[in-house]
Amino acid sequence: MSPVLAGALQMLALVAALALAHRPLGDHMARVYSSTRHLRIEKWIYRAIGADPATEMRWPAYLRGVLAFSAVGVLFLYLLQRLQGSLPGSLGFASIDPDQAFNTAASFVANTNWQSYYGEQAMGHVVQTGGLAVQNFVSAAVGMAVAVALVRGFARSRTGELGNFWSDLVRGTVRVLLPISVVGALVLVATGVIQNFSGIHEVGQFGGGTQQWNGGAVASQEAVKVLGTNGGGYFNANSAHPFENPDGLSNLFEVFLILLIPSAMTRTFGRMVGSLKQGYAILATMATIWLGFTALMMWTEFSHHGPAFDLAGGATEGKETRFGIAGSSIFAVATTLTSTGAVNSFHSSYTGLGGGITLLGMQLGEIAPGGVGSGLYGMLIMAVVAVFLAGLMVGRTPEYLGKKIGTREIKLAACYILITPALVLGFTAAAMALPTPGDSMTNTGAHGFSEILYAYTSGANNNGSAFAGLNADTQWFNTTLGIVMLLGRFLPMVFVLALAGSLARQSPVPATAGTLGTQKPLFSGLLLATVMIVTGLTYFPALALGPLAEGLAS
């Protein structure tokens, strides 16, 4: 069987598995976020928090919950790293420096998981398992909560109430993320991912002597790393490390977990707004982008343009034998079209155009299918913009799901789509203009520029993958990227929740003959075009200087 055919069959298997899970998981999540019943363990948690889960919140209150919980998360994770040297169960590892500790805390709370440290030599068991892995759960649950709040904004009328943040946070963690993670972690152990609490220990080698290994609760962290579209690896090599991703099967399973919740949430959306077709229309746009990007990636990686790859006879630099070109390409696209950022192969050593595809995937706003929660709300914002554009064409007030998209709504949506490019391009320009940040580049020329563009793209979009030739453990990058990740995560949430509040206050507009059919394939196409033109074009000049220049030269 040719590697290309094997890759196509792996995509087919992925599509089948995601399709099978779509209905039960999407419906389950709709029930989770709509139910009025509480599990016993949830009641205990609410009592500990001191929150009444039945209290409805308007958008400012909901937002305050999000921000307070996240602020505490950043502080807690920062202190945990700063105190690591004195904490037991840390393998005797030293405390993390302030700038790196800030960067890492911001990174994990913002669901980015950018890593300027080497996991295996810097972070002990307590920080990895009790700090970083916890944010893998809760930062994902926060994303889902905000998405659900926006969906409620569409579904509810004349209220302004968006649900209870604490209840959404706890339910997302307890009823969605935890159960799937338990099963996922055990499946990963069965493929060979390690799960122990060994200290640093010596292991014999074939030719005599020993090598030192770092044990750890890797499978439990790996499962939620991909499920919650987090992406922070236990080891530096992330999902390329054989202890995180031992074979082709674990690889496909990890890609499945990355895409699972974001794709199923479109059904949750459809269920909650009372029309499954609306969810399918969104899903169709996501799937088109995902399949198109994967096909392009396979094409460019299999045809391996670039002097070093031509010489080697294939673009295998930075890719593992067990995954091959196809398994690496599938992973790279899934991880950059979601907010995951885990890597099973190193994007910096992809072909020029392949690197460009990973960059563009993030720059589209990670909406195909996107991060858990953030993918859905990102795509719904684009849907609002698409409806607005359609309204302009025919000269009538646009409406989406029975809600008028008026001045206030479109202003909020516009702010949402402007924040990320402003952060990415502004900071990239600053880093290029200042004398020292450029010293961090490994590669020169167009690729060196791409390293920095990639870093800020990845940070602002909360992805976390890297053109890792960039030495990002400097004061400049730790600090600016930390700020970019926090702003790139929480500013958009402000606009999403404000929009949700504004939608929930409205009275529904009855559908007429002139209403745009947002459940139809035509709308999926319009949405696709809007995504490509509105966000894609913003970055075109920057892409032309980096990956396009590199890709077209070879």
Partner: protein, 225 residues
Amino acid sequence: MNTSAGTTARLLGAGLRALLVLTALCGVLYPLAVTGVAQAVLPGKANGSEVTVDGEVVGSRLIGQRYDLPAKEGQETPEPDLTRFQPRPSNGLGTNSVNTRYALILSGATNRAGDDEELIRRVTDAKAAVVADNSVPGHPVDPADVPPDAVTSSGSGLDPDISPAYAALQVRRVAERNGLPVQEVAELVRDHTEGRILGFVGEPRVNVLALNTALRELVEEDAAP
């Protein structure tokens, strides 16, 4: 003003309590439960898939090793032990720079781009070395036959596998250096070639540690009277 400061403090307090409870659940109970089940049901895999030969641990099935001669004095990089099958290059590997009382291996890639001078040089050198090392009298290696994985570093630097093509390329050299019939070594490679899982998942590969372990047994059998 006082009330708003009080509200903020109450809110942060609630956030802290929520974080602590969820830490207990997701950061303590969950990993302990998974570890318990994993250690009870699949201890071998949960502890790193170690491979034991005659009671001695020789490494992990999953972690690639170097098969080099002991470094001579003044030598920066040791020479490959050509009696053994050689793994992929691992130019991205590092040694630990913090907590330096340990000698940990740092997984990683070179992150070099396809048009990078350094990568072009490394691939050129590696290709020349593979051709020189594997050409045996009467059977020169054609540079076009060198598979890409033989001259490029993996993502982790710990790739335990090589492609069946690279294993096949090394058969004549390994046979000659160990005084074994080519046929026997070729058979060894065939026996240790793993196909795609279920016929389409992943790529065909040869685990270098397993192959070299079997090779050593074969050499020892051969040497025994």
